[in-house]
């Protein structure tokens, strides 16, 4: 197995210097992400204003679209702006894996219990 705990080349944080030419490439990428994030936000707001809320299939689909778009935005912020995508794989996993695992579990359990609570309350009234 390939070891990725060794310091090779410029992988060490304090050595992460770059020259003007490389900076230009990086800045181009930053501007691309900026436009993408702004566009997604604009689309989300437009969808929120245009469609009527309710228990309809359309609105449920839109809610899941919101969740998906939010995860795309979050992914770009963490991987690009926070440079986690450029870090070593073991750091990336140590940060993302426990969080995703825990929050998915918590969300599932809280929503299941929440809806069950509501159903019981409705029965009792």
């Amino acid at each position: 197995m390939e070891r990725d705990d060794l310091i090779v080349n410029d992988s060490y944080a304090l050595n992460a210097h770059h020259d003007d030419a490389h900076g230009k490439i990086l800045r181009k990428k930053i501007y691309f992400v900026t436009i993408l994030l702004s566009l997604i936000t604009a689309v989300e707001v437009a969808m929120g204003v245009m469609f009527k809320r309710g228990d309809t299939f359309t609105w449920t689909a839109i809610k899941w679209t919101f969740v998906a778009l939010t995860l795309v935005k979050a992914g770009y912020i963490v991987m690009s702006f926070m440079h986690l995508g450029d870090e070593q794989k073991n750091l990336r996993n140590a940060v993302v894996a426990p969080y995703v695992l825990f929050i998915l579990y918590l969300t599932y359990i809280a929503l299941t219990e929440g809806f069950a609570n509501m159903a019981i309350d409705n029965l009792m009234h």
Partner: protein
């Protein structure tokens, strides 16, 4: 691996073991682990919000109906103000990442420029949030609770059975004067006769505000206006209980308190993070200005505070979706 011995790094920077487990400094990794724990806190808050909302048997307010005002303007602009706040925070995140990039080129002037803009963006966001809170606390005109059941026909042609205790909303010009009248302001006089309800504000050159319409289902569904004769019937059926805006005890937006409480706690906790981020940014800005980073030979401190700043933006992206959109 001969590369690792080529680096002239102190043993302390390399965690004393001769190598760094993740290829990052101790400080940067601890910043990441702090952010994970902080993200769990915010995740917990948003999950608690979801739990309360899923459990609620009372209708939950639609954020689009609650947050639709713009400073200084009279009309209705659903979600526009929050979208503007989101945009400000995204842009300030971009200026921060540009500061980090400039730091990697040891370009002190650029770092100062971009960090300065980041601080300004953060300040704008905090100001926006202060206005949003103020508007939320004062409310959109408030309403009164019905004393007994009334059947009304709305301007949408549908007949609604209003129960005792249901809230009927006033428009914000009338409502805010009514609040002053109820608070015992003798300058504001209420005149109500047959087919006529008005408030006269004698502190404002006798400015008269007439009641033209009342609103039902304002925050929980598409709002319905009631005008004419049925409006006076609603007005005559009001009890002594009114509700204006929101605080930790009551809320005009919903029959339950959870919505307002979560608004105050989640946006408040996030706002506090933005505030501390701005303060830390200012401290690092002055360290850069004094040339501390140049002496160290690297701008990693800018990178670390940048991580925190992006995290604040990241949290807002989720708050925006789960609190305002869904």
């Amino acid at each position: 691996m001969s590369d690792e011995t080529n680096k002239n790094m102190s043993k302390e920077a390399l965690w004393g073991g001769g190598r760094s487990p993740f290829g990052v400094t101790y400080g940067k990794m601890m910043m990441w682990f702090f952010l994970v724990s902080d993200a769990l806190t915010f995740g917990g808050l948003l999950v608690a919000y979801g739990f309360s909302r899923a459990s609620s048997t009372e209708p939950w307010p639609i954020a689009e109906q609650v947050f639709r005002a713009l400073p200084g303007l009279d009309g209705e602009y659903p979600l526009i103000y929050v979208a503007l706040m989101t945009f400000i925070l995204i842009i300030s995140s971009v200026t921060m990442v540009l500061a980090v990039e400039a730091g990697h080129r040891n370009d002190r002037t650029s770092v100062l420029k971009w960090m300065g803009l980041t601080i300004i963006g953060g300040a704008f966001f905090l100001g926006s949030q202060a206005w949003e809170w103020s508007h939320f606390i004062h409310g959109g005109g408030g309403g009164f609770l019905l004393e007994h059941p009334v059947t009304v026909e709305g301007d949408d042609g549908i007949t609604y059975q209003m129960q005792a205790g249901d809230v009927v909303y006033m428009d914000h010009h009338f409502g805010h004067l009514m609040e002053q009248h109820l608070n015992g302001n003798a300058q504001v006089v209420l005149e109500a006769g047959h087919g006529h309800v008005s408030l006269t504000d004698h502190s404002d050159h006798g400015h008269v505000v007439e009641l033209h319409e009342l609103t039902i289902n304002k925050y929980v569904a598409g709002e319905t206006h009631v005008e004419g004769f049925k409006m006076y019937e609603l007005w005559e059926s009001r009890s002594d209980s009114y509700t204006f805006g929101a605080n930790l005890e009551e809320s005009e937006y919903a029959q339950q308190q959870a919505f307002s409480d979560f608004f105050f706690f989640i946006t408040g906790f996030h706002g506090f993070h933005v505030f501390s981020g701005v303060v830390i940014n200012i401290i690092i800005f002055f360290m850069v200005l004094k040339g501390v980073m140049d002496k160290r030979g690297h701008y990693e401190m800018v990178e670390k505070v940048g991580l925190y700043w992006h995290f604040v933006d990241l949290v807002w992206v989720f708050v925006f979706t789960f609190f305002y959109l869904i």
